[in-house]
Symmetry: C2
Subunit: 338 residues, 2 copies
């Protein structure tokens, strides 16, 4: 009896240390979904991805462990991935048809429903931090283009020469996409003004969702959009409710064929299915990724973390770079369907 | 008995003519919510608004009556309001801090969940038509800035000199807003980068929702945003799920302080409350406009029309320019709290 009482006390203390039960997740990240096959991956490249995802998780976890808000953890993890050439966000962003890198990002605080977002920016080193500045230092939620860049500069963020975002891999990707696009346009009998339809040009977005010691959730997403994009196209990442959303119940970040995520208002729909229909985070996330998005013809994945530390990471593509960390610091990184 | 059978047959025929019961609504429009008081309105100005709203309703109704899709009716009604200097959309749009007119618009087809949107465009005479072109003639959903304008031109839309959007009333509004803004900035002790907080600079957006003979819904919204806006600010109007949304159940268009409508994902939340929680269109719309939006500190209104022809037009401001038309062609136009 005394033993049981001690065990109960011990378990209570452990839970108290991070505000929830051990083993529960406190952070989840993604580095994009797509045609990621083990057969076309070298061991070196796979290791590079695993190392970078681990580094991003550690950057966020360190802050959560120190009692910092979930917003800090989300921003820190995404900055690591933005600074890496491996992901389609920040350094490593894909090129537009005109050979530019146009970046989008959004962040949302689940507790206050405060949100910030930028789209079509070309000179901000870390778009996720400029999204946070829009949220915290302006009355606005969304800023686009040159105006967003002017604001970021006034807010004291690091501004870089657009050349900073140039990487050889992504440049080759654009050249290939332009060739494919030309062929597609010749074959396109529907007369549409845009002919691209290659899935692999649409992926690589990064995102994070975190749950802090006070039980508050935050979510963020950052992307270079799709290779060879034209006409100032904006995807779901910077759209609050589509690619990014957080409230008191759940935080969500999406990656995939953005147009289908906007039309399904995916991130908010996950939250609504949980709140109004009583679905679990897993069932709600699956409803979108395994049914609603593919039913319209789209593909991709998402990460979701609820207030109790339950996580969902569904994707309907071959793979999705993703990782989790639990309250006791255990890190898990996954790439393929495991 | 025979009489009852004839009556039943007659009622069936009447319903068949428009696909639903007589008296039900087939279209609802708004011309913006805000501090619209009878005491500060001249009879001439009130008549001008009533006439223009009536003209917009007639333009849409004519198409619905002829069996055209709801998308056509929404576009036609919004084009009338965009072409009028009375509303903050198209001709009549407010000025940005830099003295430009930057326009946003979105349209969505409830049946297919297809959607199109443009933001920050300065040369497209009818932004709602360019949003529709994005939806129907591209693979994308959202385009911003110069890219969106280039696409509109290639799609054959009417391009105008930015001077087309200049109106004396709106220019005076900007000069006043700049003066108020300067004063506000001097008084602003929080050190925020933006100091504007005048509600009346945020309103005047136009929108329409229609239900066609085949029972399909569509919704659209068009706006010049808020007077004196800076830094490429984008509001809720062009954000699918926030200011504009339609599915098979309901169509919604919002007007108000855009930032709060984005953070609440208002349009999609109305649809989610109806679909997942079983709320009526009135209760769902009220939940957002009378509770969720004001609870965060925002204000405005919305119009919503469900698949059975039920309408909701709540607003938490002094007034909202709005109007409805029923399946038998009865037009009603309202401005104040009646």
């Amino acid at each position: 009896m005394k033993f049981i009482r001690v065990l109960f006390l011990f378990s209570f203390l452990v839970q108290g240390a991070f505000g929830q039960a051990p083993g529960k997740y406190v952070m989840v990240i993604h580095g994009g979904a797509g045609t990621i096959l083990k057969s076309s991956m070298t061991p070196e490249r796979e290791k590079a991805y695993r190392d970078e995802l681990t580094k991003a998780l550690q950057a966020g976890y360190k802050l959560l462990k120190a009692g910092k808000p979930s917003l800090d953890a989300v921003e820190a993890a995404i900055r690591v991935m933005e600074d890496s050439p491996l992901f389609n966000a920040g350094k490593g962003a894909v090129f537009t048809n005109e050979g530019r890198n146009e970046l989008d990002a959004a962040i949302m605080d689940g507790k206050s429903l405060a949100a910030g977002s930028v789209a079509g920016v070309t000179t901000i080193r870390n778009p996720i931090s400029s999204a946070r500045a829009v949220m915290e230092k302006s009355e606005h939620v969304m800023m686009v283009g040159a105006g967003a860049e002017k604001f970021a500069k006034e807010a004291g963020l690091e501004i870089v020469d657009p050349k900073y975002f140039w990487t050889e891999d992504r440049w080759k990707g654009l050249l290939k996409a332009r060739r494919d696009d030309s062929v597609k346009n010749l074959q396109n009998k529907k007369g549409g003004l845009l002919g691209t339809g290659n899935h692999d040009y649409k992926f690589g977005t990064v995102g994070a969702v975190a749950l802090d010691k006070n039980g508050n959730l935050a979510a963020g997403t950052s992307t270079g959009g799709m290779t060879n994009k034209k006409f100032g196209r904006v995807g779901d990442a910077p759209i609050i409710g589509a690619g990014t959303y957080a409230n008191k119940l759940v935080g969500i970040s999406c990656t995939g064929w953005g147009e289908f995520f906007i039309r399904n208002v995916v991130a908010h729909d996950v939250a609504a299915l949980m709140e109004y229909k009583g679905l679990s985070v897993k069932d709600a996330a699956n409803e979108l990724i395994m049914k609603k998005v593919p039913n319209l013809g789209g593909d991709g994945g998402l990460i979701a973390l609820d207030k109790d530390g339950n996580v969902a990471m569904p994707f309907n593509t071959a793979g999705m770079y993703r990782g989790t960390v639990t309250r006791d610091g255990k890190i898990e990184v996954l790439i393929y369907k495991d």
